[in-house]
């Protein structure tokens, strides 16, 4: 049983880690966009079209692709004054409570962001500069990048909730274990 749980955990870590690597690649993309924008502005007198807006949209990729890994690995900023609350059965119960509350809170946030994304679709919201590439726009319908980005945010949050639920089950089935990873656990990756 334990072996099975460990392999599930390893798989979940691998998946969330790969998604967080995507976040890293988007970050590299932001670096490139910034450089192209600044160099273009000063040396060729032609800044990148919609540069700031592209960065703004890309930030969603950096943050929301990192969330599943962050929550699964429990990488949060914590006031580490009483490490005793991390250990033993008490730490196990607290870990479960946190995962349950965290998952429920994120579910509410996911719901709210999804309804905002749908509202964007109904209202035909667009960004100021980033518009439809013509090859993607179908006849009589507008391609709305904002709707896709808003939906991506909602879906990422739902996926994070799924990862939290999985983590909850894994911790629940291993009584006495902590929901937090220590540095030595890093090799599980």
């Amino acid at each position: 049983m334990n072996q099975f749980l460990n392999s599930i955990e390893r798989l979940a870590l691998k998946v969330s880690r790969s998604i967080s690597l995507l976040a890293g690649i988007v970050l590299l993309w932001i670096v490139i966009i910034t450089c192209v924008d600044v160099v273009g502005r000063y040396f060729f007198n032609s800044p990148l079209y919609a540069g700031a807006e592209i960065i703004k949209v890309s930030m969603a990729g950096v943050i929301f692709c990192s969330l599943p890994y962050m929550f699964f690995k429990n990488e949060h900023i914590i006031v580490d004054l009483f490490p005793i609350f991390k250990k033993g059965y008490f730490g196990w119960v607290l870990g479960l409570v946190f995962l349950a509350i965290g998952g429920y809170s994120l579910w509410i946030i996911g719901d709210k962001t999804f309804s905002l994304a749908m509202r964007s679709l109904e209202d035909g919201d667009t960004y100021e500069y980033i518009l439809a590439p013509s090859f993607l726009a179908k006849a009589n319908s507008e391609f709305l990048p904002k709707v896709y980005v808003d939906t991506f945010i909602a879906v990422s949050i739902y996926f994070t909730v799924f990862m939290i639920a999985l983590k909850f089950l894994l911790v629940l089935l291993k009584p006495g274990t902590s929901a937090e990873y220590s540095d030595e656990d890093e090799e599980i990756n």
């Binding site: 890293g24 000063y42 943050i63 709210k112």
Partner: protein, 441 residues
């Protein structure tokens, strides 16, 4: 129920949750939503959440965070700390306490690229500690100079905490960076003086190292010119208005990447990990900002800023006395709170109050918040070396073998004292922090 009582209940709830090791972002967010929901209605509170996630998650100004974090991580992995230390040693190493002084200066230079105190302390301890042990430095002085020098990471620009403060208070991040520069230099000077006094009292604590010829000194400088050039390019670019803080961060990250790649210390896997770490850290800070904003909305709705202002007026205190009390509260909070938590919990409470003091202090509302930001960061630096949980001290304890926490705290005492003096000077003479921002193009 009065504003103070409601806010007190909210604040206590966060403290209890935080001490139970609940993530701070979740604690602040939950208390913020429940508090706001109780004061208005839950529909409005939850509606706020969705909009805030969408806005913060697609924020241009927030991109400055992962970019500066990336720049710092690349410098750290590129092994530049060693070269910086060698350069500082070449000039100061042959003096009594010279290695500790070199450590402080190298920490200052490293801080000019990295925005994190913990990263500065952890990286410098690996470089400086073996050298100081080789020259038989007392552990107390050696570890303390790294722990204290490391604190400069959050003050000398770029600084992650100043970015967070700027985002929370809607102040110019470029101006905040400029404001942190002179107090940071003052920090290097004061820490060097602290080393000087320690070895003047007991020379055996920090013997002189070997002297370096001028040819070697120039050679050592040659190794660090790229790092220094990167700092001048990034911060100078902001100062003369060549680019915004966000653009500077992007250009800085690109520059750090070139330097790290040319150092040969960065392989593809390390590079991918650095990119991922910077993104995950940005997500953590995003969550914290989200929680802090929800908490701040609740406090504002409860009317805490007005209630605090009423209390201050009833005591008829001068603006400086109020600032003094706030700083005292920070020093006390610093004994139990980690730096980022302390700032996120308190800035929403104190900032509206400090803004109201601007006319009495003879400053504009924006300048007073920039000056206050620097004061907050200096107090936070102090908290990093204050017992019982001074975080930098524990970073050192984790990295350096065979040294007790007590030894490090003992060694840190002179640095802590000069820090308090520096805080008083910056509080009494706001011009030290505000000179550069007011001269910006």
């Amino acid at each position: 129920m009065g504003a103070l009582t409601i806010s007190f209940i909210g604040f206590s709830a966060i403290l209890i949750l935080a001490f139970l090791r609940f993530p701070l972002a979740l604690s602040m967010g939950m208390v913020g939503v429940i508090g706001f929901g109780e004061l208005t209605n839950y529909r409005a509170a939850i509606s706020n959440i969705g909009r805030l996630v969408m806005d913060l998650g697609q924020s241009y100004s927030l991109s400055v965070l992962p970019l500066f974090i990336l720049m710092g991580l690349l410098v750290e992995k590129g092994g530049m700390a060693k070269q910086l230390y060698r350069a500082a040693y070449a000039f100061l190493g042959d003096k009594k306490g010279g290695l500790a002084m070199s450590t402080v200066v190298a920490c200052g230079m490293f801080s000019a690229i990295s925005g994190s105190s913990i990263a500065t302390a952890a990286t410098m301890s690996k470089v400086a500690m073996p050298e100081m042990r080789r020259y038989k430095y007392a552990d107390s002085l050696a570890t303390a100079s790294i722990a204290a020098g490391g604190t400069l990471g959050i003050l000398i620009p770029p600084s992650v905490i100043l970015v967070i403060y700027g985002l929370l208070t809607e102040q110019s991040i470029g101006k905040l960076f400029m404001a942190g520069f002179l107090p940071g230099m003052l920090g290097i000077l004061f820490y060097t003086l602290a080393v000087f006094f320690v070895v003047a009292r007991n020379p055996s604590l920090g013997p002189a190292g070997e002297s370096t010829s001028w040819t070697d000194r120039l050679l050592a400088l040659k190794d660090v010119w790229t790092t220094l050039a990167l700092f001048i390019f990034v911060i100078g670019g902001i100062y003369i208005g060549l680019f915004s803080a966000t653009e500077a961060a992007g250009m800085g990250a690109a520059g750090a990447l070139v330097i790290a790649l040319s150092s040969g210390n960065l392989n593809f896997n390390v590079y991918l990990n650095v990119l991922r770490d910077a993104s995950v850290l940005a997500a953590k800070l995003f969550a914290l900002l989200f929680g802090a904003t929800m908490f701040s909305n609740f406090l504002n709705r409860a009317g805490l800023p007005d209630a605090l202002l009423g209390i201050i007026n009833s005591f008829d205190l001068s603006a400086m006395a109020v600032i003094g009390i706030i700083l005292l509260i920070y020093i006390l909070l610093g004994c139990v709170f980690e730096s980022m938590s302390m700032i996120l919990l308190t800035v929403p409470i104190f900032v509206p109050l400090v803004k109201n003091l601007a006319p009495e202090l003879g400053l504009s509302a924006d300048l007073v918040l920039i000056w206050f930001g620097i004061l907050v960061v200096v107090v936070t630096e102090i908290s990093l070396i204050t017992p019982p949980i001074g975080l930098n001290v524990f970073v050192l304890k984790g990295v350096v073998k065979n040294v007790s926490v007590g030894t490090i705290f003992y060694g840190v005492t002179p640095f802590w004292i000069v820090d308090i003096i520096r805080l008083a000077i910056i509080a009494l003479f706001p011009a030290i922090a505000l000179f550069l921002p007011s001269m910006m193009f």
